[in-house]
Amino acid sequence: MNILLREKDIPNIHEYDVYAKNGGFAGYKKALGMKPADVINTVKASGLRGRGGAGFSAGMKWSFIPQTEPVKYVAVNADESEPGTFKDRQIMENNPYQLIEGALICAYAIQAKAVYIYLRGEFWDLGAELDKCIEKAYQEGWLGKNIHKTGWDCDMYTHLGAGAYICGEESALLNSLEGKLGQPRVRPPFPAQKGGGLYGEPTVVNNVETLASVPFILDKGPEEYLKIGTKDSPGTKIFCLCGNIEKPGNYELPLGTTFRELIFDHGGGIPNGKKIKAILPSGASGPIVPATDAVLDTPLTYEDMGKIGTVLGSASIIILDESVDIVWAASKMTKFFHHESCGKCTPCREGTYWLDRVIDRLMAGKGQPNDVDLINNIAKNMVGVTLCALGDFAANPILSTIKHFPEEFKAYAQAQAGIEEKKTASPAARTAKGNEPGTPQGRAGRHSPATSTPAGD
């Protein structure tokens, strides 16, 4: 069932006329005939949860905007930088008007003055295409002054980032839009509150997929949306499937589909006759889970992922087959977070630096006997003490891989204990992948040099 990836059923839906002919802008038109508060209630009733990661109720978020404030904004989060995520790009490339329509419904519901679509900088060509679609929407009277004689004015703009994962974090995104360093803000005030949003004005920040789900809800009614998915996770979700999988790609399926159905029925299973070993359900930022039968039979919902010790996040599902060296995978993820830490708070800045260094030396066969405990401790000290969730995200790949695959870490630690001849049988030698070439460089001007030295280095 495709509510979002409608190009699979309707060719050329990226063209305005095709979109309009196939029910496009019907939801928005309906909304424009309603009181803004009723639009919010409709979205609330649908149970739609944010698709950017946290799964917070979209309607609830909109209802936090104080209507007494004269200036309000919508910021569309199209930063899409989580490793393994490539769904928002597909929505915007193939069904751009649906995002525009959804963002406009949100804008009307909170009576926003303008909508900013924050695209990661690498979506350069996509930004140019979106600009054309926005232009068309103005021409058709969906944007601009006194829209459909409601007396409400609204503008829409794209904004290109320039390569920084942290700008997907909502308050960093707002700073970046304002021409400031893209670092998270101290909260409260939250974006929805006066003082916390864009230019200090109350702002709704929603993910692309969240907003693109809204036109259906307005057009068909929340009851129809509630018929899909589960009670606590209604609707469809795009699952980005990648890694060791036969048919990588985006699959839009009802929430509640199991891993097994997604991976084997839709994704074609694991290539080269290999067995599945582990799953990262939320890119690099959520905890890893070993692919046991119980895990494979778990429904993909916000509530069920918690039961198996992980999160649904943005549903960027990375599959690891039996040949993958888990320590190598943890190292890759750690390099990502080390590179992307914005450097504002110490536990994250220093923690990602030291995690990366210690894992590197562990993998290079130069570690100390207690290095596994050391990295576990560094990671533990990053949890819950940072300004934004990136600190927790960076600890997850370490804590969860050590928890589920301790023997793989131990194999490295033992290999270093001077048993040189055993090294050829170490996990590093078993995969052809080895370490990544070159030394990833921290962001120029972003990191201050590390100041502390954990024991053992």
Partner: protein, 161 residues
Amino acid sequence: MTLQQKYTERIEKALAKYPDKRSAVMPVLHIAQEEYGWVSPEAIIEVAEICDMDPTQVKSIAGFYTMYSKHPKGKYWLQVCTDLPCALRGADQFYQELLDYLGVEDHGTTTDGLFTAEHVMCLAACDKAPMLQCNFHYQESLNMEKMKSLIEEWRAEAQKK
């Protein structure tokens, strides 16, 4: 010619998007990089003037983001994703072969000044690995054979100009 003179219309359009000039610093930096191939100290001063900012502020913004190059690059800036999902599909090996083919190290530029190769983090194309961006345009589902013919195409294109 200054940026302001050469790109008057684009700069005006960027400034018109926001309630203050400072917010246009990112789009104007993108324009500067397009013009000069990198964000040079002179470019920083120009951008600062356009956005009504202090040059040191512009410099720190430019330093924060990886897409603004702080050094001159080859004419074709190849950014190969070697992040975990792509690496699971052979991206590390692909990148190494590309480096060998070009005869450069990671972050290196070919002696003719045409190609700079870098490995980068996820580019939202993990299902089409190995992949890269060349001057921020996607090239996906690559192998070395395809890569070699792309490189030849770019070489020929550069010669024409």
